[in-house]
Symmetry: C2
Subunit: 179 residues, 2 copies
Amino acid sequence: MKETTKELIKSKIRTIPDFPIKGIMFRDITTLLKDADGYKIIIDDLAQKYKQMDIDIVAGIESRGFIIGGALAYKLNLPFVPIRKPGKLPGEFISQEYSLEYGTNTLQIHKDAIKTGQRVLLVDDLLATGGSAKASIDLIEKINGIVKGVAFIIELPDLGGSKVLSNYDIYSIVEFLGE
Amino acid sequence: MKETTKELIKSKIRTIPDFPIKGIMFRDITTLLKDADGYKIIIDDLAQKYKQMDIDIVAGIESRGFIIGGALAYKLNLPFVPIRKPGKLPGEFISQEYSLEYGTNTLQIHKDAIKTGQRVLLVDDLLATGGSAKASIDLIEKINGIVKGVAFIIELPDLGGSKVLSNYDIYSIVEFLGE
């Protein structure tokens, strides 16, 4: 993506200080999603990057990863698998705990969500500390999926998420420094 | 959609008894979403129906409505607006309480999510009692959006949701009777 397009995308992302807790500069993509051109640009960019990569399935992390991952899976004519917060999956599932920027949490995946050896693209909106993405990777690998890539709209490089995910092919469209 | 295609779609939806509580036959769309053809068929069907309807914006109800709504908005080259559970929206929002099949809940929308007079297509995966859809309609109308249509993958006609939404143009791809 051209630097000018990246700047355009960044300009459509709203920053809200002290959400969800004091000291966090929250990068709010709802202002990007409600811009038809901005939304199309980010999904097309991800589709362009991953269409040649032999992906079998797109996994999205609840909840904002569902929007991006759902659209991307559709564009690539791939299936979609949700990685969910506790209590939401009706079938047999496995769980993974993790620490996040402000607290702890658990993610879950259906045991039959991915077939052994399927190549998975993991999608979320934001890479911060990498906790939820790493927990999602662990879930995918526990059910014998292969993580071929991890894609984000936004990366906050100062929070070190790319180090946590250093064994994987990660990609983010834009970065916000100074976190 | 042809009846045979509807039957195909229904066959890809898994039924899990007694989730989330005893007595509920949970219609699980994750088995449909993880089938690339099934996923494409439902999004294409919705896109075909709504592409001529002069929609300005697609709103999806958290969380499964994000998958369907996100993909549909992208396909129609429209913006996407999330209607969220409490505590998730970082900007100024309004709230609407509602009763659902098993308990009560609240939904929220950003005050600036929709411009006055914008024509909104509301999307969720399932129409049961209509509580969450009606609450979402109330939110959209409170910020002066116009609800042009309400789309679901599944309707459970026995639960009466279509009566609750009788003032609106509602559409569901498949129905499960006997709930």
